[in-house]
Symmetry: D3
Subunit: 240 residues, 6 copies
């Protein structure tokens, strides 16, 4: 029995609100249960120095958490003077996940930075960030298309990308851990997959006992189900 009362293959309610920012070229507020992440995509007509002269653009991501997004207040990273290892790990993951489905050559010499800021946390913030980041990125590109900055038929995003976590809780593989479940799970795994079902990233960690190949397969099957549902939400919402 999950603390969340959900069935093993049941993810949390997800709601996506687009265009929540007056300033950003693309944005959404994604809520997965009590985990709320604000994603904004910012277009800049410049590229990192090491990319110059390659006729390509860049997509990157940054991640942050408001100090009281969590049960106990955390120290503000700007006061600590540096981003934690966890923060850096997550923003590198988001960036890699997005770049996996972007045609950087087609983007041209521009940089899009997707900021994922956790307003409220209840587990699964990195996977919600990836799912929401794709929407912000997509809408930023449509913003550019509307303004003739890219050709009407240019394919910048080759596919969708979304992510979800799974875990082994009380011996059972379950989908989409919330904070309470995550704290007690024996194994915690994050999956990033594309619209066509390809795996972009898989990160599985045994918190207690090591896990077996069979368990890995069970988690992957759950992730596929959950991500297929998220992919629908990503575009359904776009259609509105």
């Amino acid at each position: 029995m999950r603390p969340s009362k959900r069935t093993p293959d049941q993810k949390r309610e997800v709601s996506i609100t687009r265009n929540v920012s007056k300033h950003a070229e693309g944005s959404c507020l994604i809520k997965s249960g009590d985990t709320h992440v604000l994603c904004t995509a910012s277009l800049e007509e410049r590229i990192p120095p090491w990319l110059r002269g390659q006729n390509r653009g860049w997509v990157t991501a940054e991640y942050g958490m408001l100090p009281r997004a969590t049960g106990d207040r955390m120290r503000r990273e700007s006061q600590a003077g540096k981003q934690s290892g966890r923060t850096q790990e997550i923003q590198r993951l988001i960036g890699r996940s997005l770049r996996a489905i972007v045609d950087l050559g087609a983007l041209g010499e521009r940089q899009i930075t997707v900021d994922c800021d956790v307003i409220q946390a209840d587990g699964g913030t990195r996977t919600a960030s990836i799912t929401g980041a794709w929407i912000a990125l997509n809408d930023c590109i449509e913003w550019m298309r509307t303004r003739g900055m890219i050709a009407a038929d240019a394919v910048i995003l080759k596919d969708q990308v979304a992510a979800i976590s799974c875990g082994i809780y009380a011996g059972t593989p379950v989908l989409d851990l919330d904070y309470l479940e995550d704290s007690d799970a024996e194994t915690d795994a994050n999956f990033v997959m594309t619209g066509k079902g390809g795996i972009v990233e898989i990160q599985g960690t045994a918190e207690g006992e090591p896990f077996s190949e069979e368990e890995l397969m069970a988690l992957l099957a759950l992730a596929k189900k959950g991500i297929s549902e998220l992919l629908v939400l990503q575009t359904a919402d776009a259609a509105e």
Copy 2:
């Protein structure tokens, strides 16, 4: 004529939503036009080292801005490795403003940190932060009262406190500058006042020509009007 079409003594629409955080002991989202600030109050049963043994508590504030809260994306302060002078100036102001109306002795040996995070900026973020911070602080104290942590009749907050900006725009003193107006104003002044009408803080800066005593008086009169309206919203909202 103001770019915002408002009359000189007209402030922006302000909406306040309380209890927006699952975790914080007190919280609100304050929207003053397109300026949106999330305020959370976090209670901790500890005090700064330099306060030990004095049988008093502490109230402090921190301020931050999401990178794309503004028209152009700003560098994340946690990446820059430090808070800007502007950020520190603002959070010191918020903290002083709150402490002006708190009885730190009555609070007991506890610290309340109010985080003011700007989700979207359109001018006046520091004054909206102060107005919202009072609400989060107030609700945190009521949270404590409900749990018997302070006596039912203890007066921790001696008064309300709220803030608003004024400025001289195109030669005319006007209330509550938005970003566009602020960028062109000759003088910019922030006022922090209590429920009883006392001045807690006044900061006036000539951006162009120096201003006169008469102009200072005109700005103060506008601020009084605006703050009196905010004071009503602070408590009206609490009553709901």
Copy 3:
């Protein structure tokens, strides 16, 4: 009765020694009672990157305190690895105050940095810094004029600027608080004004009870008197 034995509208003895630096283009040591600040103006034939191509110069200020300028030794900011919020607040104020009276276009593409270093502190270091900074800046510009770097009749400084603090001590508005008075004052306010009597900056803070409009007016009247005396010293001294 003031601890300093001064009458309410009596400022401290101020002495100004010009040309105290072998290297700086303009400099002075300003002593306001036991508060001693060394002000040096450094001319550089470069401008900040964001000013390029605008055919204008820049004037900025930095502020520091020697570790034992104060009663208790303070940690050296270079060891702490950063400037405190207070330091940044003060140097931003000094820079703004100076720029209020500088014609940056007439200056040409050059930067003048005024360093205000507190050798000994006894209250009022930021206002003494502003008053002294104007002298260093003025002398730097005369240095340039002498060398033909600016036209003989070019008006770079449109006016003088000077500053003083006032406060409410034991219920009475008084001029120019020293450290002892400042520590006990109910209200502390800093005023920056020009030679023509315009207000450049006003910062008033209630340390105890909020203050009223009448008190603000009384403080402003004291400041006008004090600053008018400082303005004379600034130029009297220059005439020597």
Copy 4:
């Protein structure tokens, strides 16, 4: 055909030299082809503050690279003033991998820090670090046992742990990528497994096209083979 001329399931030659440090309680130099990592385990009779009073110990890891371990010299992290996101990610992974097989309660209130310093890099530094770290940790514990600090029959290490990378190179799943292969691989995956064959950590990343479930399985099969060979080396070497 691999640039390394190795067959798809052939790992590099691995040599392990134990006791290479005069000072450390456990140490080894592990060479996997041209990747050379020095692993030292340092015992300290103290624990992190957040562990106090729990009657448990702690095992942690740090990772570093000498500036010219790589083809191009990299900036020294101590000069940059911070560890890169990559460094932090790797040292967190090493620490988690070790803790997966340590009985922290049996260790007592002590901390063991395993430092993995890359003397020369040619791909696979993080997996070589984990494999070598286990040896240093094991020898540190035997050092303690010899001195009677833990009981003769105490089981501190519940199992072995070792790691290897796999990848899809030119469409073929291959074992143990060197730097040249890694730079061109479409997919790169790191596996951490125990002596009993359980999975402790799996990290798979598509560098080019997403990968399929079948490919993941093929990589896992290769990893199992490689790790089983490493496990023999870890203990064979210990027996010498």
Copy 5:
């Protein structure tokens, strides 16, 4: 011929003004030609953590330079976010030099920090700092003696300590290089010696050609002469 017109064994005019600080327990302004250093000694009733329980005190030093102490303005170290290697090297040298003549056991569990801040620089700032630091330290100890904090006959300072630089300029060993001479000297050496003539520290560096043993001896002879003159000034001044 030296640019300074001095004879090879002639040091600059040195003036020492004691008690220049209202706050410090001991202080002096030492001027060696155009090099001006403010030295303050600060007594604190605490010791560094690593000294606890040893019944001894500590003497340490810090060094700084005002930004425009030099011909070109230097970046403020508090803004750079760290002390330069040069600054750290110098303050470590001053601290070692002082501790060479202090009986830390007789001092008791207290720390004295001597701050040496260069107000104006013209070469030889580190040696002037040491010579002045001894005076500030001495006067701090007499301050303590006057207040009965140490016994009337306690010997805390076992000896005097002073320092001077020498160098080989245009092939000739000369005493006490100023900035112009130092910039062109082939060899630069700093000597720290006690009242009894013992060597506490010697640092010789060939800037151009290596130097010989004979040259080292010549420099040492010059240093002895210069330091013997400084030792007289240190105590002559104290007698006033």
Copy 6:
């Protein structure tokens, strides 16, 4: 009697292994007893900004210690966020020592960085670093010569340079202190000398009693002997 059982003028066994790095243009592992330092020279076709347009190159050095190179584990400097004063002092010394024998004009507009990383420490790490750094630098230059980057007969290194420490232990001047001897020595001195016998750098520090001119001479005589032996090893080894 020395703890090391060596005679007063006997240095430790020194072994030098060249070409230990797959990547660096020049490298060696120098072992002086239990002090082991890895020295690598990295050639870069760029120069520091302040050297531009001068048609000269630059040689610099960096120094580091692995955390468990020492008896007690030291904090990793990249985690501390800065290099210690000691580290900076040492790397500045190594760089100066190397530049003393390099013809920077003949090098051309290139930078060579010599990294000296202490793998294991037992006293004398800075002097072993200098001795080894010269070898890495020499081999880097021969690497360039082989590739025709400098003329076959160009003299970039004008001489050899090597270093050793001496000290006064139990009243006796001794050569080449190891850690145990260094901890108890009354005086510690480091000497850097060229192949022709010139002194490049001398740093002598009294840890206990000041030392005399005679003692300085005795230490210098020991250093000459030790360095003459090192100079032979530097080139003997190159001849192999």
